[in-house]
């Protein structure tokens, strides 16, 4: 790892993250409010914008990096995300399948 950033660099990091987050938030709201009424596929765009914002905040606010000496956090986050995906996608898959087989709408 290089030396610690200076005061101004450090401050700029947070402000950059904030501006990027605001832009991504505005984009998500604009997308849903303009085309969300007709097209359900807008959620795909919202999901992409959400993941982008998660990445931005992890990088600029939480300072998660891929640097070798600070990789513990990243490994922990990736493992937790895997568990999270199994829980959420597994639940939605099973319960959705059940709803179809029971002829109830979801």
């Amino acid at each position: 790892m290089a030396k610690e950033p200076t005061f101004a660099q450090h401050l700029r990091l947070y402000i950059t993250g904030y501006i990027l987050s605001v832009v991504l938030t505005l984009a998500a709201f604009a997308a849903v409010l303009t085309i969300g009424r007709e097209h359900k596929s807008v959620l795909l765009l919202v999901a992409l914008l959400g993941v982008a914002q998660l990445a931005v905040q992890l990088k600029y606010f939480l300072n998660v990096t891929t640097q070798r000496d600070r990789r513990d956090n990243l490994a922990l986050i990736l493992f937790s995300s895997l568990i999270l995906l199994i829980i959420v996608l597994g639940t939605v898959w099973i319960m959705g399948n059940l709803a179809v087989r029971m002829h109830t709408t979801m």
Partner: protein
């Protein structure tokens, strides 16, 4: 002679865990482990919400209940408070004055309380329209998830108040700094969860509900 109580060994003299607790990296990493377990808990409640979209039992659904103006204001409050807690972190890391640090913590606290006020107002408006937790499975799932995040924000605010008192009584010593760094992580983490809430709960519910 009991070798364990030998005064030469600094670890045996007091609590052996103390040595671990003095390593800041270890403390912060431990807090990350807690946050990730909290993330899994949120994930389960998110999963319940997703399976409950549409289970309105004839009661009011997302299209009647959600107010996107208020949602946007709440999002900006929380996002801005994430920036201000970040600026407070920079003040601590570069050892700026105690006053500038406290200023940014107080701004964060006010933004957090503003967020909570708006959220509670939103819930009261929803209740007036018949959107109460016992009305349907959908609303139970909604009120299981969104106020859970609000509860986290409430405890974050309490934590900030306690921290401000500690800065005045103990000074900005290493222990207090380390507690603040954990608070900052916690606060950023709440912002991450909120991204999930407005994307999945509000937008997802509104499009699919």
């Amino acid at each position: 002679m009991n070798p364990i109580s030998s005064p030469k060994n600094p670890l045996s003299a007091s609590n052996p865990h103390e040595a671990i607790h003095r390593d800041p990296d270890m403390v912060i990493f431990g807090f990350w482990v807690f946050m990730m377990s909290d993330l899994i808990f949120f994930g389960v409640v998110f999963a319940i919400y997703i399976t409950m979209v549409g289970a309105t039992a004839g009661g009011p659904g997302p299209k009647e209940l959600f107010d996107f103006g208020s949602l946007f204001a709440q999002t900006m409050f929380l996002l801005t408070s994430s920036l201000t807690v970040g600026i407070a972190t920079v003040m601590v890391k570069h050892e700026r004055s105690r006053a500038s640090f406290l200023f940014w913590v107080v701004i964060t606290l006010l933004l957090g309380m503003g967020f909570l006020g708006l959220e509670l107002y939103d819930f009261s408006v929803m209740a007036e329209k018949g959107g109460v937790p016992q009305r349907s499975g959908y609303l139970s799932a909604f009120f299981g998830l969104v106020p859970l995040h609000g509860l986290h924000v409430t405890f974050g605010c309490l934590w900030m108040i306690v921290l401000i008192v500690q800065v005045f009584t103990m000074g900005l010593c290493d222990v207090v700094k380390l507690r603040f760094l954990r608070l900052a992580l916690f606060w950023h983490f709440l912002d991450l969860i909120w991204i999930g809430i407005f994307s999945v709960v509000y937008f997802g519910g509104w499009v699919y509900g």
